[in-house]
Symmetry: C2
Subunit: 162 residues, 2 copies
């Protein structure tokens, strides 16, 4: 009956392997990680190539601070700039630069190659890919739903590290 549990564990391993593969290729060719690509892609698809950090976090499933920190290297290498909002001084948009847009294009081509090389074979071409997307979609909804507020891990038995 722990078929569901088994599946979850497999999902984690598959994801780790997949990400390593993307990272190896992307970092070699473009000096970015797969996570960076996700950020850039998100911006690229947004209206005007820019988004509020909060919305970016939401879209990526990250925390706000994760976004702040993840943007730093992208700003430093000039793919993204920080833009203020004239109406609300709290918000700082993250906006794709022209360079960023170009580089994103190249990165997506690289990533698409990797993705295709991974998803080759009968299983995938026979509709498996579409099925997987559907299942993952369902999963993300279902798993994200109740996952919101967790708390820290210690308190009781485990006293992690020092």
């Amino acid at each position: 009956m722990n078929e569901a549990l088994e599946t979850s564990l497999r999902l984690v391993r598959a994801q780790a392997a997949l990400v390593k593969r993307f990272d190896a290729r992307l970092s070699g060719l473009h000096g970015v990680s797969f996570a960076d690509l996700a950020v850039l892609r998100c911006l690229g698809q947004a209206e005007g190539g820019r988004m509020r950090r909060v919305d970016l976090a939401q879209a990526l499933g990250l925390s706000a601070s994760g976004v702040t920190r993840g943007l730093i290297p992208l700003e430093r290498i000039g793919l993204v700039v920080r833009e203020p909002d004239p109406r609300d001084a709290r918000v700082a948009y993250a906006a794709l630069t022209p360079t960023g847009r170009e580089r994103l294009d190249e990165m997506e081509r690289t990533a698409a190659e990797v993705a295709e090389s991974v998803f080759t074979g009968e299983v995938w071409e026979g509709g498996g890919l579409a099925t997987l997307v559907d299942l993952l979609d369902a999963l993300e909804g279902s798993a994200g739903a109740g996952a919101a507020r967790s708390r820290k891990r210690t308190e009781s038995t485990a006293d992690r590290h020092g």
Copy 2:
């Protein structure tokens, strides 16, 4: 056309959400993370409840140092002990303690509940779960295959073809 890429990104998000969910529950009830559970489960299924660290790393898809560090808290809370090998002084087995075995049992029950609560619904009960396992299995093989040691400096901008 980058359906494969899209799928990869979704996989990452789904996995993150799923892990958060497990972590929240497991940490609240047992003071361990989902990753810890994976380790313990691995040991639990091994002959004699113990494994060499190297083999553990292999089974979990981690590096050797990841295992060393991941075991520290489990040793500290007494779920795992370090056991020397009488024939080879280099190896240090990680072995489940009796307590560890008991606790693992409880954890697995908790985790199974979470997993089942996530994988509830028509999609999953109608064979979706089995399909997902198959797909993930295929994926792990395919993604893990070429991911190993690519620290090379490929300079040209990709011209691979099928």
